[in-house]
């Protein structure tokens, strides 16, 4: 398994290079991307099985052992995240192939998409802070290109905000790395875990807060979220879906990883995280209620739901962290599915504005189901995955008597339901509107209101969120084991440095 560990990163990079070389044929490019991501998914599943059975797998690139070389580590959390990410990347790729115009007819789309996949995989697998920086840069640079591919005015305008904010976060990240290296003499996370406890309190708090700011911008937590609802909706739906599913979650993963692995138990900023979580949930959902565009409503909800994951982390108990892990997995699946169904709505209705859509429960009944399943899962209705994740979270908060944040999370759930039902009522139940000029209503070969390749991945994700809800037992046990690893990082440290 040690030999296979770098492959989830290397395969997509090789695929991207090959795809550029064979840019003459769209068909070959698609085949390369599909094969690569299928292989990565298979590898990720194998990795998860092995890691869950035998403990963390560690590889040093080029035979350089930690802390000298580039260390790749897979523990339960990173393997689980990698599996979910690979499945999402594959589903969204199929959707992008199916949607007319999603690739912007650009020769580079598949390559850039594969680079994004490599960056996400590297971010989950890396064992040192600097490689995490490089991985996040790789992922973000690919996302800049995907967001602005096509170069229309709206894309350039919102892309600019996104790029500038992300670059600011990167600059802060480099500064953070400089401070970390100057004070401890290493950027390897396992070694930092041993050394950072010896630092003076003030310095350690400064590093912790700087890390929270850097990853908080990527994860879009309050008050650093404002760039997200502005930039995500302008991209084509598959691109928005993969951004919504994965990019912010890499930030959440980095926050969970750094706050649990690097800092000693006595100095973890639990209360601060809980306050931030509550504010993120509330502000996000209130923003969603005010919007009048399907994609913008969904985008604000991403912010709101990041709050739930931070809440699980802020509890700093095994149950809380397990709930955070479970919630992250659930949210990636449900949110990606919801954005894909939003893309279907836009495709079938010709617009994503609530005021221009209506009556689709009759014109496109399949879409209504495909929207409703991930939407209700996001709200947390049984038997969908959201119910299990929210129940675990509420249970963990009650066990630690954090009733304030518990109350906020339940209120936000109701508001989430309200904002999603606003979409449901105006898009599906309202009287049909006049068709938007330019949207040809009846297209040949589209039995479900959209091409089959767009409907299938959306249906698969809807089925997956139902499946996760039904198979919640094993998944919750896995999350508990991952959370126990996180709170007691000794096994991780020994494995990496040993």
């Amino acid at each position: 398994m040690k030999v296979l560990l770098p492959l989830p990163v290397l395969l997509p990079i090789a695929g991207a290079a090959l795809s550029i070389l064979l840019g003459g044929s769209r068909r070959v490019q698609r085949a390369i991307a599909l094969t690569t991501l299928t292989a990565v998914t298979g590898l990720a599943v194998a990795l998860l099985v092995v890691v869950d059975r035998d403990g963390p797998v560690v590889t040093g690139a080029g035979g350089w052992r930690a802390p000298l070389g580039i260390t790749l580590v897979a523990d339960r959390l990173s393997a689980l995240m990698l599996v979910v990410a690979a499945v999402m990347l594959l589903a969204v790729l199929v959707y992008a192939i199916g949607q007319p115009g999603a690739e912007r007819n650009h020769v580079g789309f598949q390559s850039v998409y594969l680079i994004l996949a490599a960056g996400v995989a590297a971010a989950f697998l890396t064992g040192d802070l600097f490689t995490l920086f490089v991985a996040i840069e790789m992922m973000l640079t690919a996302s800049y290109v995907l967001l602005t591919l096509g170069g229309r005015l709206a894309q350039v305008r919102s892309g600019m905000t996104y790029v500038v904010i992300s670059l600011l976060a990167s600059v802060l990240f480099v500064a953070l790395l400089a401070f970390v290296y100057a004070s401890t003499g290493t950027v390897n996370m396992a070694q930092l875990s041993e050394r950072i406890g010896d630092l003076p309190d003030g310095l350690r708090s400064a590093l912790a807060v700087l890390m929270l700011v850097v990853f908080g911008i990527k994860a879009a937590i309050f008050p650093l979220f404002f760039w997200l609802p502005d930039s995500y909706p302008t991209a084509p739906s598959p691109v928005t879906a993969i951004f919504a599913g994965l990019l912010t979650k890499v930030g959440v993963y980095a926050i969970i990883r750094t706050q649990t692995l690097l800092f000693p138990a006595s100095t973890r900023p639990g209360t601060l995280l809980l306050v931030l979580a509550a504010a993120t949930m509330l502000v996000g959902v209130l923003g969603a209620i005010a919007q009048g565009d399907v994609k913008r409503i969904f985008s604000f909800q991403i912010v709101s739901h990041i709050g739930y994951m931070i809440m699980g982390l802020g509890l700093f108990t095994v149950a809380g962290l397990a709930a955070a892990v479970l919630y992250t997995v659930h949210h990636i699946v449900a949110k990606t599915g919801l954005f894909l169904s939003g893309g279907l709505i836009e495709h079938a209705g010709g617009s994503s504005r609530l005021s221009r859509l209506g009556g689709m429960v009759r014109t496109a009944p399949v879409l209504a189901v495909l929207f409703l399943v991930p939407a209700l899962s996001l709200v947390g209705l049984p038997p969908l995955s959201g119910f299990i994740a929210k129940f675990a979270l509420v249970d963990a908060a009650a066990a630690r008597s954090s009733y304030a944040v518990l109350g906020v999370s339940l209120a936000v759930t109701l508001l989430t339901l309200y904002s999603l039902m606003k979409v449901w009522v105006s898009v599906f139940w309202a009287a049909p509107r006049d068709p938007v000029p330019g949207s040809d209503q009846a297209r040949p070969g589209e039995r479900f209101g959209a091409p089959l390749l767009m409907v299938l991945p959306t249906a698969a994700l809807a089925a997956l969120t139902l499946g996760l809800g039904l198979a919640a037992g094993p998944l919750y046990d896995l999350s508990l084991r991952a959370a126990a690893d996180l709170l007691d990082p000794q096994a991780y440290v020994t494995e990496v440095l040993g």
Partner: protein
């Protein structure tokens, strides 16, 4: 020397922050570049100074720490690539608008002005109507 480098980094961070807060895209890009330089100088400063880190080049104990330099180099390469992309974006923006200003988010303005932009919802005759009106009224009081 460390103090001098730290002061340089601080100056670059200050100038960069000022420029990033401007409304002209070209200034923002220069600001980002200055911030990046500041961070890189900070990175180089984080290792200790000494002779060039080559084996056989002077006494063993007196070599500079090569790792932060390698890290800074990587960071420079990354920021070089992204700056090129940023310049291309700015040029595209100038081509499309013939203006160097950062554009406002129109959708956001819309929401701020009218609360819920879907005033058409009123003639739907659903239960959502009253709530939407409330939101619109609330937002109208807050808005300009």
């Amino acid at each position: 020397m460390t103090v001098l480098l730290a002061a340089t980094a601080a100056t670059l961070f200050g100038l960069g922050t000022y420029l990033v807060l401007q409304r002209k895209l070209s200034r923002i890009i220069i600001g980002i570049a200055l911030l990046g330089h500041g961070a890189n100088i900070l990175m180089v400063t984080s290792g200790h100074r000494g002779n060039a880190p080559i084996i056989g080049n002077g006494p063993d104990g007196d070599v500079a720490d090569p790792l932060p330099q390698a890290l800074a180099l990587t960071a420079i390469v990354i920021s070089f690539g992204v700056s090129a992309l940023l310049l291309a974006l700015a040029y595209r923006s100038w081509l499309l608008t013939s203006d160097d200003e950062v554009q406002d988010d129109l959708e956001d303005r819309d929401v701020a002005r009218r609360g819920a932009p879907d005033v058409d919802l009123e003639d739907m005759g659903t239960d959502a109507e009253a709530d939407v009106d409330d939101v619109a009224a609330d937002a109208a009081e807050v808005g300009p």
